[in-house]
């Protein structure tokens, strides 16, 4: 799961959707990898206004990125270094193992081998009849 994705994720439990405690979800035991991707400066410039900045700062600190400014950089502050730093954090950094925890209901979502699973208990363990003809 990429860091940018976590800025667009909340708890799957319906009752949590309206709770500010459910966003962002909190990382636990996160293991990271960096995957080098070509910088797309136009993309970073244009995605920045869409990002919930305080949530991103929270996520970044949980993952050990402590140099993010506390307020969203203004367009004129987006020099080459800032663009590269944001690119690295948002799209190159992936959480490969760990958990995402809801601050409202406490539900933990697993991330394993890079893939998060947001199925809820009621989606799982259904006794399956055979799908065959």
């Amino acid at each position: 799961m990429k860091v940018l994705t976590t800025n667009y994720i909340t708890c799957a439990v319906k009752a949590c959707k309206s709770s500010s405690a459910a966003f962002p979800l909190h990382f636990k035991d996160a293991e990271l990898v960096q995957e080098e991707l070509e910088l797309n400066s136009d993309f970073i410039r244009n995605v920045l206004p869409r990002i919930e900045w305080p949530a991103l700062v929270t996520t970044a600190v949980e993952l050990g990125f402590t140099t993010l400014p506390s307020t969203k950089p203004a367009p004129e502050q987006l020099d080459e270094k800032m663009l590269q730093d944001l690119h690295t954090l948002l799209v190159e950094t992936q959480v490969t193992e760990g958990k995402l925890v809801c601050g409202n209901c406490g539900h933990e979502y697993n991330i394993h081998q890079g893939i998060a699973n947001f199925l809820l208990p009621n989606h799982l363990g259904i006794n399956l009849p055979t799908p065959f003809v």
Binding site: N40, D42, L119, L128
Partner: protein, 256 residues
Amino acid sequence: MSAKPFAAVAPEQYEAAHVHQVYQQIASHFSATRFKPWPIVDRFLREMPTGSVGLDIGCGNGKYLNVNPNIYMVGSDRSSNLVQIAYDRKLIHDSFVADALDLPHPTGRFDFAISIAVIHHFSSPERRVASIKSIISALKPGPTGQGGKALIYVWALEQNNSRRGWDEGHSQDVFVPWVLSKQYIKAGSESVKKDSTLDAEANEEGKPQAKEVTYQRYYHLYRKGELEADVAAAGGYVLESGYEKDNWWVICGIVG
């Protein structure tokens, strides 16, 4: 074959058997047949402004996740085996496992969403409307041209030019077979054992060996106008709609 989704089984359980489990089993074979983006979907994604953030609900093998490198897409699918295929392709975008009726997304933040050949797998009218509501409530609200946009595709009842031969008057709830060919059957897997009596030949040890396995997927075939009506029932508005190659599609939004 006509399917009866309103029997004694709860829709969740019905879909688990006739949709989720089938896609888990056929994921590799299904993915191998799904690589060419449909033109209307392709255009919808390419026209999104740089920096747009969107969803692909029921992303399957992720074939739409790399159409436009200047946007960001978050794909999800109920089948972990299909998500694994999407993930392994190392796309610039992201994907995970989620249920379309319980998406882990905040409301009102997305510039766009696509859901291609997905909501026709829900087996009750209420669940189909709920799935559209789930998708459009993730969009930025706003009147025509100002809010986020969702492109939704479903299979049409009116397919009189296709080999399947469905058309007006046919049952809308059907089973559609997927014949899983031999090379995609995992040796010793549960599926082979379960089905070996149906389509099997004896190998030299005299044990049955499956040649192929036929799975039945449940579909609700949409009739003309039904998709637009479901969007309205979900609280959305239709911007554009049409018919393309056995499918009905809409581009829709939500006022909020």
